[in-house]
């Protein structure tokens, strides 16, 4: 498969009270077209900074983000960022949110919005306002709004971390169901190793700050995955070990 995203020797530091704080040091990896890559790391290791750089909202001090062979410096609708907080506009209905990213002169934009609302299971809620929806439904709306503009890449920064454990698991399944219908390249940042094993094709482990790629694990299991299988548990233990957590199965 061709390379979709190439992260080339990214460095980033911030001005802090005690001199400069190096957050990301010489980080590099590649993501294939259609691949689902999860990035896990200890808290405060610079995961969100990395995501902001990859999605184009933040410039690295050096290095480059190359997408389809071309350097990318600004965010655009080819790669949509979904964050933990969420950003569904509360003053627009679900339908209006979905229409937001679609050009006004797109002939079938109305039907497209309905189609994606239905895809994520929000049929019948198109005319509701976000504050009338539950947390899980709000996430579905956010995913639908991202997908309706047909992005090539989804950047997901702890997308389900604000949900309760059960809802988080449900949304992971939903994401997999949707991605089975529409193939996308996905970069997921999470602190949840089980979530990463559940959804990703490959898992990268970041080192403590300054962040580097410390280890990479393929997840060769077919969907639907059983997290209780010995192989999955062994992978979990191996990843946790990389993160500095010793645990027996």
């Amino acid at each position: 498969m061709p390379t979709k995203i190439s992260i080339q020797n990214i460095r980033k530091s911030f001005e802090a009270d005690k001199g400069r704080l190096e957050v990301i040091a010489d980080l590099k990896f590649e993501v294939n077209d259609g691949e689902f890559v999860a990035i896990v790391g200890p808290s405060g290791c610079g995961k969100t900074t990395l995501m902001n750089i990859m999605s184009g909202f933040l410039q690295p001090d050096s290095g480059a983000i190359v997408i389809d062979g071309r350097p990318r410096t600004k965010p655009n609708s080819k790669g949509i960022l979904i964050t933990q907080q969420g950003s569904v506009f509360p003053w627009l209905t679900v339908k209006q949110n979905l229409l937001f990213g679609l050009p006004d002169d797109l002939p079938n934009r109305d039907a497209l919005a309905d189609e994606y609302a239905a895809l994520v299971g929000l049929k019948g809620f198109e005319n509701n306002y976000p504050h009338e929806l539950s947390g899980g439904m709000l996430k579905r709306a956010e995913i639908a709004r991202a997908l309706v503009v047909k992005p090539e890449i989804l950047y997901m920064d702890e997308p389900f971390s604000a949900l309760d454990a059960l809802m988080s698991l449900r949304m992971q399944n939903e994401l997999l169901r949707i991605l089975a219908k529409e193939k996308h390249t996905v970069l997921l940042i999470t602190h949840d190793v089980e979530e990463a094993i559940h959804v990703a094709d490959r898992i990268l482990v970041l080192s403590p700050r300054p962040a580097r790629i410390q280890a990479s694990f393929d997840v060769p299991f077919t969907h639907p995955r059983k997290l209780s299988s010995p192989q999955a548990q062994a992978l979990r233990v191996a990843i946790l070990k990389e993160l500095g957590v010793e645990e027996t199965v």
Binding site: F89, F100, H131
Partner: protein
């Protein structure tokens, strides 16, 4: 039934105040200060001969025009100052100096510039209500959460769409709060302005009733009517807060 139960304590308080007023007037054997009943009779008298409605109409017209001009001026200006940093830095200090000046202090200048017709109170209402609305609108733009602006940036929408679908609706709850404050101040000011130099309006009615024969029943009637209309105007503004696309800010 629940609404009645909620309103009950406030109705009791008002009834107690009116009863106390009545009792004190009777006990003091006052000839000038009216009883509640005399106030009601006075109000009926004015309502019957039509002058009451003329005064109310004149006051509301002045507030409507002055406040309307202020809204048309303050909201675009506030949005601009909120969005363009240079505009804010340049204009904000001036507005912050003008804002604390009581509209009453402007009365001599208003008379100098606009004479004693309708233009003076309209100008005073404008001056009184425009600054709170500018400040509130500007603050509204400044406090738009970054995640929403980033999402808009991510979808790469044109500037006009960004304004129409993100900046303005995100600021709308603050604009409405500003309008509520602005209209409240406008109502305060129109009455004060009419006391000075006009031949119509509720403020004039109060001063005229005193000057023309100590009709304190009409003075008090005017005051109560001002209070009730003020409450009604605020109620109208509160209806705006109930709109579905702004409720996200008020309802939790």
């Amino acid at each position: 039934m629940k609404r009645v139960n909620q309103a009950l304590p406030s109705i009791v308080v008002i009834a107690v105040v009116v009863a106390l007023w009545w009792a004190l007037v009777v006990l003091a054997d006052s000839v000038i200060f009216p009883t509640p009943w005399q106030v009601i009779q006075g109000t009926m008298e004015l309502a019957r001969d039509g002058t009451l409605w003329e005064h109310i109409g004149a006051s509301l017209m002045r507030v409507g025009v002055g406040f309307g001009i202020a809204v048309a001026f303050a909201i675009p200006l506030g949005l601009w100052m909120g969005w363009v940093r240079g505009a804010f830095v340049t204009l904000n200090p001036l507005f912050q100096i003008l804002r604390p000046i009581s509209p009453i202090a402007w009365i001599p200048i208003a008379i100098l510039w606009f004479g004693v017709g309708n233009a003076s109170p309209i100008y005073l209402i404008f001056i009184a209500s425009v600054f709170p609305m500018i400040v509130q609108t500007t603050a509204g733009v400044h406090t738009i959460e970054k995640r929403y602006l980033r999402a808009a940036e991510n979808f790469g929408v044109p500037r006009a769409k960004l304004f129409l679908h993100v900046v303005i609706p995100a600021t709308l709850p603050d604009i409405i709060v500003g309008m509520r404050i602005g209209l409240g101040v406008a109502w305060l000011v129109v009455v004060a302005a009419e006391m000075i130099a006009l031949r119509s309006g509720l403020g004039y009615m109060i001063m005229d009733s005193r000057n023309a024969g100590n009709r304190y029943d009409l003075v008090v009637a005017g005051m109560i009517i001002i209070g009730l209309i003020g409450l009604m105007l605020d109620g109208i503004m509160r209806l705006l807060e109930g709109m579905k696309n702004v409720r996200w800010r008020y309802a939790h």
